[in-house]
Each structure stands twice: as structure tokens, then as C-alpha cells.
């Protein structure tokens, strides 16, 4: 090989290293640049939104967050009705979707044989593939009608004695928002819970069963406690998704800037008010909407971080504690 003979070791070796260095250096630089793009984008998003929202942040101050009146004509901007809508719909979805999702995940991991659990698992995950706007379409024309005509009346019959549940069921409204979000985040919570529950070591199940536990007792005493934080993480991931969901909610929420006085009344969420009003908005109205987006961004960011930490801790951390 040229350059590697004893007579010219220096030149040959330097030739080799040079070629390696340039190629690899360039490669690292290019891929590193690609990786930094997303970092740049996230920073840019925070900066840009803050910048655009600044007129509103400056003018509306802290009252923005708890103000209850949103009146662009009078240049009064209080977003509490939207935060209320987002919180109620998302928390409703969080609770109900988690309960159902965990039961489904338990079924898939602990009860069902493989030939049932694989297809069922796939079908539930398919729900996650349906676009938000299609959910919205179905939500208005099918689910909403069902709520107005059948499900809503049942709810008022059973729970109508509570003032907030005493209302006339409509096609669109806060309750429809709650229902559509529950359906939409269910597959996410289910899939992560399923993975977390499947990660519980066999030895834990065997330990409790060897004492004479029934299957449910084994789940309750050994599996669920072990998987607890992971399931919480799954639930919070679902919450993050619910908070940011836009199109489906926009179509079924009813579009009212007033705080709803009962669960069936029309309402707004942060994401849906932006979707509906932004294109027609100008000036301070526009800045106010961007401020709403900023609040939404920070909310989902925090929720996501918390969720990832919890899930990560169970699938990596807790197993290290029990010397397996």
C-alpha cells in the first residue's frame, strides 16, 4: 500500500488521517446541524410566540388569566372561560379514559390469550390513527346527536340533582367536548399502560399467586402497585394530548366565550378559540390569541415533561430497585 512502507511512514500516515478526518468531520457537522434544527425550532417557537403576544402580555397583564370576559370589540381579554373549558374537558377525559384504558390494558396483559389480545390491541390503537378532523365530523353528526337524544337525557336523569348537571343536552357543548376527548386519548393511555403493566416482572405475580390470591387480587396487590407510577405517566401523557387537541374539539364544543353554567352548555377551549378566531382577528385581538397559544404551549410542555419522567422511571428505574 502506498505510503505505508518503512521509508515514508509520516507522509502516508498523515494522508490516511487527513482523509478520515475530513469525511468524518463533515459527517458529524451535517448530522449535528440536522439535530440542532429541532432545537432551534423549539427556541424559535417560544421566542416568536412571546414576541407576537407581547402587546397583549403588556396591555392585559395578569388579569388575562383570570378575567372572565372575552370581548374583542371592547378590547377586553380574559381567558378564564377557555382555561375552564380546557381543564374540564381534559380532566374529564383524563379520569374516564384512564379508568377504561387501564382495565383494557389489564385485560390484554393479564387475562386474554395472545390470539385475542393482539387483534384487540391493534384495534384500540387504530383509534389513534383517525385524524382529529374526522373525529370532529363524526362527533357532530353522530356522537352529538346520540348525546342530545339518548345519552344526555340519561345523564340528566341520573345526575340532574347536581346543579352543574342540570341542563338540556345539545349536540355541541362542553359535554360533547368531554366525550370526544375521552375517546381520543384512550388509545394513547391504553398503549402506554399496557407496556408498563407487561413490564411488571413475572416473579411479582407468582409471589402473590403462590399465597392463594385470585387473579384480581394478584393484579390489585402486586401488579398495579408496581406499575403505579408508569400508569400515572400514561394518564398524564393522555392529558397532554387532550389539552392540545384542536379540530375535533372545535367542531363539538359549541363556541361560546361565556363560562358554561351547566355541562351541556356551549363552551370554548384554548385551542378551539384560537382555531376559530385567529384568521379574522387583528391587532390586539390577534396578540391576545397568540398569548393564549403561549399559555397552552407552556401547559403542554410542563405536562409532557412530568409524564415522560414518570414513565421513564418505571420502565427503567424501578426495575433496578428490585434486584432482578
Amino acid at each position: 500500500m502506498a505510503g505505508l512502507t518503512a521509508g515514508h511512514p509520516v507522509r502516508g500516515a498523515r494522508g490516511l488521517t487527513n482523509r478520515l478526518r475530513t469525511g468524518d468531520w463533515l459527517f458529524t457537522a451535517l448530522t449535528g446541524a440536522a439535530a440542532l434544527v429541532m432545537v432551534g425550532v423549539i427556541v424559535a417557537i417560544f421566542y416568536s410566540l412571546t414576541h407576537e403576544a407581547w402587546p397583549s402580555i403588556r396591555d392585559n397583564g395578569a388579569g388575562f388569566v383570570w378575567g372572565t370576559t372575552w370581548d374583542p370589540a371592547k378590547e377586553t381579554f380574559g381567558v378564564w372561560p377557555f382555561i375552564f373549558g380546557t381543564l374540564v374537558t381534559s380532566l374529564f377525559a383524563l379520569v374516564f379514559a384512564t379508568v377504561i384504558a387501564v382495565l383494557v390494558a389489564l385485560f390484554l396483559v393479564e387475562v386474554a390469550p395472545g390470539w385475542i389480545s393482539r387483534p384487540v390491541s391493534y384495534l384500540v390503537e387504530l383509534l389513534a390513527a383517525i385524524p382529529s378532523v374526522v373525529y370532529g365530523l363524526w362527533g357532530v353528526f353522530v356522537m352529538g346527536v346520540f348525546i342530545r337524544d339518548h345519552f344526555g337525557p340519561v345523564v340528566t336523569d341520573v345526575l340532574g340533582w347536581i346543579p352543574f348537571f342540570d341542563g338540556t343536552p345539545l349536540i355541541t357543548g362542553l359535554f360533547s367536548g368531554c366525550m370526544i376527548l375521552t375517546i381520543m386519548i384512550l388509545p394513547t393511555v391504553m398503549a402506554v399502560s399496557r407496556d408498563v403493566i407487561a413490564a411488571v416482572p413475572r416473579s411479582q405475580r407468582e409471589g402473590i399467586v403462590a399465597l392463594g390470591a385470585t387473579r384480581w387480587e394478584g393484579i390489585r396487590l402486586a401488579v398495579l402497585p408496581y406499575a403505579r407510577s408508569g400508569i400515572m405517566g400514561a394518564a398524564i401523557l393522555g392529558l397532554a394530548r387532550a389539552v392540545g387537541e384542536t379540530l375535533a374539539v372545535t367542531l363539538v364544543i359549541g363556541n361560546s366565550v361565556k363560562i358554561p353554567d351547566n355541562i351541556f352548555a356551549p363552551a370554548y377551549t384554548m385551542a378551539s378559540v384560537i382555531a376559530n378566531q385567529f384568521n379574522e382577528a387583528t391587532g390586539i385581538h390577534r396578540a391576545a390569541l397568540i398569548e393564549v397559544a403561549l399559555i397552552l404551549l407552556v401547559m403542554t410542555f410542563v405536562i409532557n415533561v412530568v409524564a415522560r419522567l414518570l414513565v421513564w422511571r418505571v420502565t427503567k428505574g424501578q426495575r433496578a430497585v428490585v434486584q432482578e
Binding site: L49, I100, W138
Partner: protein
Amino acid sequence: MTARPAAFGAHGPEALYRRRKLVNHAMTAAMVVAVVIALLPLFFILFYLLKNGLSGLSLDLITEDPNHPGRSGGGVRNAIVGSSIMVGLAVAIGVPVAIGTGIFLSEYGQNRAGAMIRFVIEVMAGIPSITIGLFVYSVVVATQKHFSGFAGGLALAVILVPIVARITEEMLLLVPRSLREASYALGAPRWRTVIRIVLPTAMPGIITGVMLGLSRIAGEAAPLLFTSLGNQFYSTDINSAMDSLPTRIFTYATGPYDYWHDQAWAMSLILVGIILVISLAVRALFGSRVTVRQ
């Protein structure tokens, strides 16, 4: 001389045992009910998509452009074409960035910098797509003073990158060490090893990731509301407002005309159909390892 099986094992009160069995059966029943509840929406969505969408499907739907609002008939050709263009744009812009990021993370990412970038990717994957739409609006649309298909494609690209980057990194890490080592042993530099050996091996999985990301962004409407906006007319000009299936579905769903609703169902059927086909293809190619969720 065997004792009656029923009397076996009176270890603890009989009543307690019966209650424990009852609770066990009840919880099993609850789990089954939960599964049914979870699957009902899927069946009802698919059912109504077929019921309401099939009747709206016609050749006109995909070959004609929309009529003036109010006049029934017409089609959604501009939406289908617009979606295709913007998704294509997103793929063209986003996939190189995503693959580059994935390569960087798999090759050089086992350190703090890598952890930070992974964190950022996770965060990006979780932020509401409407926020991304607003961002691209501020940066591109406001500056150019007009809506554009390019802005729409860009917004979709931003959504696409985290999805594809994650899967790319995972697929690259799956390539066995021995393959890399064989290449190094022959004297190949790192960049050549990755490009000639590792990447091609991981390519089927990466393509899967691209397909999944594609099916996800094809259905996104929120980021397009303020970027490409939508367009009554047929246009392939990425420098002006461009129509798309999701935005048109949104407009038609909220509109006053029955034929709009019918066409919205038909468009949804097309969209979900495409997504289902991609999902099935991915599953057939790659088993249940990779799924359509976020």
C-alpha cells in the same frame, strides 16, 4: 376413599372465599365491558364513515373542483392535489432533517448533548399542532404577507421531523454491532460505514417511520388553518394559498349545505382509507413493533 372435592380446603371462612371469587368474576366482567366500551367508538366511526361516505364517493369527487358554495355537485380535486403537494413538501423538507437527526443521535448521541436533543424531540412531538401553525404563520406568512402552500408544507414538516427522527434512531440502533465492526475492520471511516452499511440495513424500518409520519400529517388540519389556509380553486402554486383535505373537511363540516356534509364524509372516508392502508402495510412489513400512535 377421596373426600368430596367441594369440601376441600376449608382454610379460612367459606363466606370470605365466596366473596373473593365473586369480586374476581366481577372485575373480569368489568374488564370485558371496558374492552367493549373502548371498541365501540371505533366500530361506530368506521360504520358511519362507510355509510355516509360511500354514497358520496364518485369519480366527480376526485376529478372536479368545488362548485360555488350552495351549488351542489362538484368535487374536491383541489383538496386532494393540495394535500399531496404539501405532504410531499413536508417529506422533502422534513425527512432529510429527521434522518440526519436520527443518525446523529444513534452515532454520537450517547451523552448529555444527545440527551438534550432527545428531550427536545420529545417536547416537539408533544406540542399542539396549532401552535406550530401559529409559529410558521409568524415567521413565514406574516413576513411574506400571504398564505402559501409552502408555509403549510413547512408546518407539516415541523410535525413530521420528531416522529421520523425517533423511529430512525431506534432503527439505526437495531443494526447489529457486528455489521458496523466488520466495516471498520476493513478500514472504512465512520461516515462511510453509516451511509453505505448501517443506513441501508435500517432503511426498511426508516421507510416505515416515514410512512407512519406521513399518515399522521396527512390528517392534520390545525397547522394548515393559518398557513395554507385553503383555496376554493385548483392550484398547484406553493406560493399561494393551497387547499387540503383536512381543511376542506373542516369547512364543509361546519357549513350549512347538505351536499357539503356528504362530501365531508366522503373525503373523510378517503383520508381514513389511505391511513388504514398505510397502517396495514406497515404492520404487514414490520409486525407489531411499530404503531401508528404518537
